[in-house]
Point group: C2
Chain length 228, copies 2
DNA sequence: CGGCATCTTGAGTTGGGTCAATGGTCGTGG
DNA sequence: CCACGACCATTGACCCAACTCAAGATGCCG
């Protein structure tokens, strides 16, 4: 989720909210069903959120890296509807939501910021719905890589060198496909000269080629619908 | 999107926000890319929102009926990222967002309500990601029908009699499948004695059977992932 | 160096897509 | 009131993208 110029917000938050928390690789920050207490801003590290279905199926709903905020799902019912797990040692800032409501200190802008953040999360979700609902596997993976690249860049890192924090299975869960498919597509992209892949170390060789893959490919399920 | 006991909020809004708007069948409330001005509460009627991809592909991201609020996607960048189209003659209340920010009149609770509504939208989106990412077509359609039924019930109507406001193609776009598949599954459900289908008029004959279909069926893409 | 987890690759199957034809339903005009 | 045409829904036959199952390969950690 590209947060853009949220840096100022984060700085202001740091002044207000000094409570930090460290989560070790594999540990959970909150659980599906647990009471909602606060939002969390990722300081460093990497977190995945996943929803569990009754029958055991899981869907990863998001990956969060430095500068991004998670936990918005918990506000609605005051309990979380997904589980947040650290994929590497991670440090978060805890943001109790009531702080945001009490705007005695001219924090009105903060409120607006939060509306925007939540809206951004909604926009992100719509993008993923688009991915899942109307793109082929190759397009989804290309879009995923490009998104990670973009976020890497926003955080001041290279746009064409990524180190994946999640395993293939998790990419698959996020993008709605099986591990084997993810793996095959990585191989394929490498054969096409789009990527150079060494396990979790990815170099983007042909950014334009990847982008092209998304916009030019033909449709899967749906055509534009001119209602009426 | 089940909004539950939002009735009181709507009532209070009505006092504040007397601006109404009527949208005829097929007309749009706002467009992809247009400036964000306000949120909209559906008074009566039915609205779909759809995102357009550059290459012409479309994905329907939501259906909104009486008592539900749309437009949250526009807050982030102050422009809408989807298009809202009325599927039948519809009346909405216009909710300019700045009203929510200015809480001189003890509207703090209103703010919190809005956080909750946005969070609910996020939760809803996660549910759909789950649908699209890890369920088979039959399960998706079953979940869709059950969701409509539930919302119908919340609004005081029958739980087992629905009149679909959208066409098959739109259901397909929302659920990530083609019209033909939607149609075949309706036929199949009818053969199974789960539904009685006459065009857009749907009677649910076996609610339990539909629910069962969702939780008991085996997985498609992903198994639970016990990280580490 | 061995054991375990993750990733890759292959072969075979299938759910759902494509294409094409038919059947309903509704609104409009003669 | 009926006929025509437009749009939508259904059905069938065929096909392919992605899944399943089954080895291997690779890498990691004790």
């Amino acid at each position: 989720m590209p947060l853009g110029a949220t840096e100022d917000l984060l700085k202001r938050l740091e002044e207000l909210v000094y409570v930090r928390k460290r989560i070790k690789t594999g540990a959970t920050l909150y659980h599906n069903g647990s009471q909602f207490h606060a939002l969390y801003a990722v300081k460093s590290g990497f977190i995945k959120t996943e929803t569990l279905h009754d029958d055991g199926r899981a869907q990863i709903t998001g990956f969060y890296m430095g500068g991004e905020i998670l936990g918005f799902d918990g506000i609605a019912a005051e309990k979380h509807i997904c589980t947040a797990v650290a994929l590497e040692d991670t440090e978060v800032c805890i943001i109790p939501l009531d702080r945001i409501g009490n705007n005695d200190h001219g924090l009105n802008k903060l409120q607006n910021h939060f509306y925007k953040l939540m809206s951004k999360e909604i926009v992100r979700d719509h993008t993923i719905m688009m991915l899942l609902g109307s793109m082929h596997s190759e397009e989804r993976l290309a879009a995923f890589i490009l998104n990670l690249s973009h976020r890497n860049q926003l955080r001041g890192y290279s746009a064409d060198h990524l180190i994946l924090r999640m395993k293939r299975e998790e990419i698959g869960s996020y993008l709605g496909m099986k591990v084997e498919t993810v793996s095959r597509i990585f191989t394929h992209f490498q054969e096409q000269g789009l990527l150079e892949v060494h396990q979790k170390d990815i170099k983007i060789l042909d950014m334009a080629g990847l982008k092209n893959l998304i916009s030019n490919h033909s449709s899967k399920p749906n055509l534009p619908s001119k209602n009426q």
